[in-house]
């Protein structure tokens, strides 16, 4: 029975969401049963087991993941909640790291006790954040982004060339060589000087941060930030002091970045200007966008994915897994129909055989090279062309063609898309095996840049975020 004014569809939406379908359904239903607090405990518990299962270098990677998660959560406040595009965030991280390094090493020399250093550094970074927010009173969107980007550049330049500033100040930043010999955190005589100890320190801090952020989001300040992002003008008319809240967002975000910086400096036992370049900022943004702007669990998941990726890429065997599984997932998501996916895979192999046969016929055996020692060795044999001396040049052309191919795939639909996909996928595999598999840093950069572009176009809310409605 329908009643005017009662939206039955919306009313039943809750129960509809419970009816998950597909193979992830049982997991999602089980997940829903667990209350948020317990979910966090579960996550922390599992994470706590991590160091027991991996080597020390694995723990070091885990530390990188946790630091990135903290940074991403801090950036989430500024970008995801308050909606302010801050491209200079990495400078707060650097500032915290450098400040801590300066007061906890032989640089001055000063070896401040941790319980003094940390609050001072965090407060100073927060203050810097508040200062940087002042331009946001007058600048919005693009302008603020540029301004903060420039600030980050200025920071790196200043830190690198401090001693050469007019007035010849003493070199407190160590110039291009940075500062080394940074003290670890020491609390009540307990020194966090091993990877394991720092991992658990970070995990604890992260847990507290997550709890704090959840509570903050559902509070007066959190609502004000979100209102600020939704519609700044309307928020101001509804008693929100927008400038003050922008400043708060910047300050809190900066404080979190500063705190992460101190741990980073302590773990790396040093700080260098190159640690805080734009590349790292992109990494933090990739984590944020991939996981889901505005969503706390999303950000953590994004950080995990983004931080582990370079490590996986460094190991050729694991990198291969990542590449092919990624490729297959992309295919499934783009085509959706399994016969089409099968057709593409078969087509690619067939195409490969043909191409190989043709190339050998034209140029003979001499063009062949030695395949990489990746896991895929066996299953690529026969149809993929691995070149010898012309590998580099051919890979370059293949790369450009592959990009053109991707654009073609975007423009086509249905079975035409299958046709476009076949040479494109072949070229992608070709470039991977012949060149990229052994160049993890380039692959990582391509990947992160690509993630940002693709996510914005295809799924702007990220993996775990919620779809937003924007006023156009």
């Amino acid at each position: 029975m329908s009643q005017i004014g009662v939206d039955r569809w919306v009313e039943e939406s809750e129960s509809r969401q419970q009816q998950y379908s597909g193979w992830t359904a049982p997991a999602r239903r089980a997940f829903d049963k667990v209350r948020p607090g317990w979910r966090l405990a579960l996550f922390l518990g599992l994470a706590a087991l991590y160091p027991l299962l991996v080597s020390p270098s694995g723990v070091r990677i885990g530390i990188t993941v946790l630091i990135l998660a903290m940074l991403a959560l801090g950036l989430n406040i500024v970008v995801g909640w308050a909606g302010l595009l801050d491209l200079g965030y990495v400078a707060f991280y650097g500032f915290g790291a450098y400040f801590y390094a300066i007061v906890s090493s032989d640089q001055l020399p000063a070896h401040w006790p941790t319980w003094v250093a940390i609050p001072v550094v965090v407060a100073a970074t927060a203050l810097l954040g508040a200062l940087l927010s002042l331009p946001s009173r007058r600048l919005v969107g693009d302008y603020l982004a540029i301004m903060t980007l420039f600030f980050a550049q200025v920071f790196v330049e200043v830190v690198r060339n401090f001693s050469r500033l007019p007035g010849e100040p003493t070199d407190i930043t160590g110039g291009p060589n940075g500062i080394t010999g940074v003290d670890p955190w020491t609390v009540f005589g307990f020194s966090f000087n091993t990877f394991n100890r720092n991992f658990y320190l970070l995990l604890g801090l992260l847990g507290l941060l997550i709890v704090g952020l959840y509570r903050l989001n559902d509070s007066r300040t959190g609502r004000a930030w979100r209102a600020l992002r939704e519609d700044t003008l309307a928020a101001e008319h509804m008693t929100t002091p927008v400038n003050r809240l922008k400043m708060l967002a910047f300050a809190v975000g900066a404080a979190i970045a500063g705190l992460s910086g101190t741990i980073f400096a302590a773990v790396q036992v040093g700080v260098f200007p190159n640690n805080f370049m734009l590349v790292f900022l992109i990494t933090v943004y990739a984590a944020l966008i991939l996981g889901g702007l505005g969503s706390i669990p999303g950000v953590v998941v994004g950080a995990i994915a983004v931080a582990f990726t370079p490590e996986i890429l460094r190991n050729p065997g694991a990198a291969g897994w990542l590449f092919y599984i990624g490729l297959l997932t992309l295919l499934l998501v783009t085509l959706r129909k399994r016969p089409m996916v099968a057709a593409v895979v078969a087509g690619v192999v067939a195409f490969g055989y043909l191409l190989r046969a043709a190339s050998l016929a034209i140029w003979g055996d001499t063009i062949l090279g030695v395949p990489n020692d990746t896991f895929t060795g066996g299953f690529l044999d026969g149809w993929l062309l691995i070149l010898g001396e012309h590998q580099d040049m051919a890979s370059n052309y293949a790369f450009v063609l592959a990009i053109v191919g991707v654009l073609g795939v975007i423009l086509t639909r249905g079975w035409w898309r299958v046709v476009a996909l076949i040479p494109t996928i072949y070229l992608a595999v070709f470039v991977w095996e012949n060149k990229l598999a052994l160049q993890p840093s380039i692959t990582r950069q391509l990947l992160f840049g690509g993630v940002l572009m693709v996510m914005m176009a295809v799924r702007p809310q990220g993996l775990l975020g919620t779809r937003r409605v924007e006023i156009t």
Binding site: L85, D142, N161, K435, L446, F448, E470
Partner: protein
């Protein structure tokens, strides 16, 4: 005094290049109200395209065609490649996001910039390349005006830039397409309602902006010799500063801004120190954004509530 004049010529040369790149930023902003972060990479690829042509034609010391033809072909190649990338960006990275939030296109642009830098690294490696301009156009073939020597390359750069800017200004002010571009920059919806094909106008804007940036890339190669995959980033930032200082959205503003930044950099490098040239340019931008965000020739933004 001669040192000053020499630096002025340097500034003029640099300024011409920055002006060309800044025009791309400003035109796209005028039409889309969006800052194309990846514009610097377009310029960088232009420079490499020019280098590619130079190599194919035998390299600076063994050209198979006359020098003037080689340089013309280099410009053409650079414009083609740059335009291709620019149009590709517009069509695939920015157009889908036209109705999305303010953040989305900016983030996509940053991603694109990053991606393009990586692609350049892949294709060209981190080694810088040299146009070896002195071999191409000998230094002696310059002119001497009073106490200063002006290299031929610099004359070429300055004159080409001036010609292009004049052509652009004429086109924008006199042609129908130019009028359409101006209409779209002023009020996109109204222009659409008056029958202007906004999508086409945007593509044309990207074509022109990218082509100019490509030319700029070749010019930098000719004047300064070295090109490398990161050159787009810093040049992009400076050209962007030029566009803002001159007044974002204003074409004469971009030209003016380019010159100013060129001079600022030339004088700073020579009179103060080269370490801080970047810092000073960035500082200038920050000051402008705070004090006069619409630059010298821009209009303060009036938004209807």
């Amino acid at each position: 005094m001669e040192f000053f004049l020499q630096q002025t010529v340097n500034g003029l040369t640099l300024g011409s290049v920055y002006a060309l790149i800044a025009l791309g930023y400003t035109m796209v902003y005028g039409v889309l109200k969006f800052l194309n972060f990846a514009h610097g990479e377009v310029y960088m690829f232009g420079a490499f395209a020019g280098y590619g042509v130079l190599t194919v034609l035998g390299g600076p010391s063994a050209l198979v065609v006359p020098v003037w033809l080689a340089i013309t072909l280099m410009f053409v190649a650079a414009m083609t490649v740059a335009t291709g990338i620019g149009v590709g960006l517009e069509r695939f990275a920015y157009r889908p996001l036209r109705r999305a939030s303010r953040l989305a296109p900016l983030i996509s642009a940053i991603g694109a910039s990053f991606f393009l830098q990586a692609a350049a690294l892949l294709l060209f490696t981190a080694n810088s390349r040299s146009y070896d301009a002195p071999t191409l156009i000998p230094i002696e073939s310059g002119v001497t005006v009073g106490p200063i020597d002006i290299w031929a390359v610099r004359i070429l750069v300055i004159i080409t830039a001036v010609i292009l800017m004049i052509l652009l200004t004429l086109w924008v002010n006199r042609s129908r397409a130019g009028k359409a571009v101006r209409a779209v920059s002023f009020d996109t919806e109204a222009a659409a309602m008056m029958g202007v094909d906004v999508d086409r106008v945007i593509v044309i804007t990207f074509i022109i902006g990218s082509a100019l940036a490509g030319v700029g890339g070749v010019m930098v190669g000719l004047v300064f010799g070295r090109i490398f995959h990161l050159m787009g980033f810093i040049a992009g930032l400076k050209a962007f500063t030029a566009a803002v200082v001159g007044g974002i959205g204003s074409i004469p503003g971009a030209m003016l801004g380019g010159l100013l930044i060129g001079f600022a950099e030339a004088y700073t490098t020579s009179y103060i120190s080269s370490t801080f040239q970047n810092l000073i340019v960035f500082g200038l931008l920050i000051v402008f954004l705070l004090v006069r965000p619409h630059g010298f020739l821009g209009r303060p933004d009036l938004a209807k509530v």
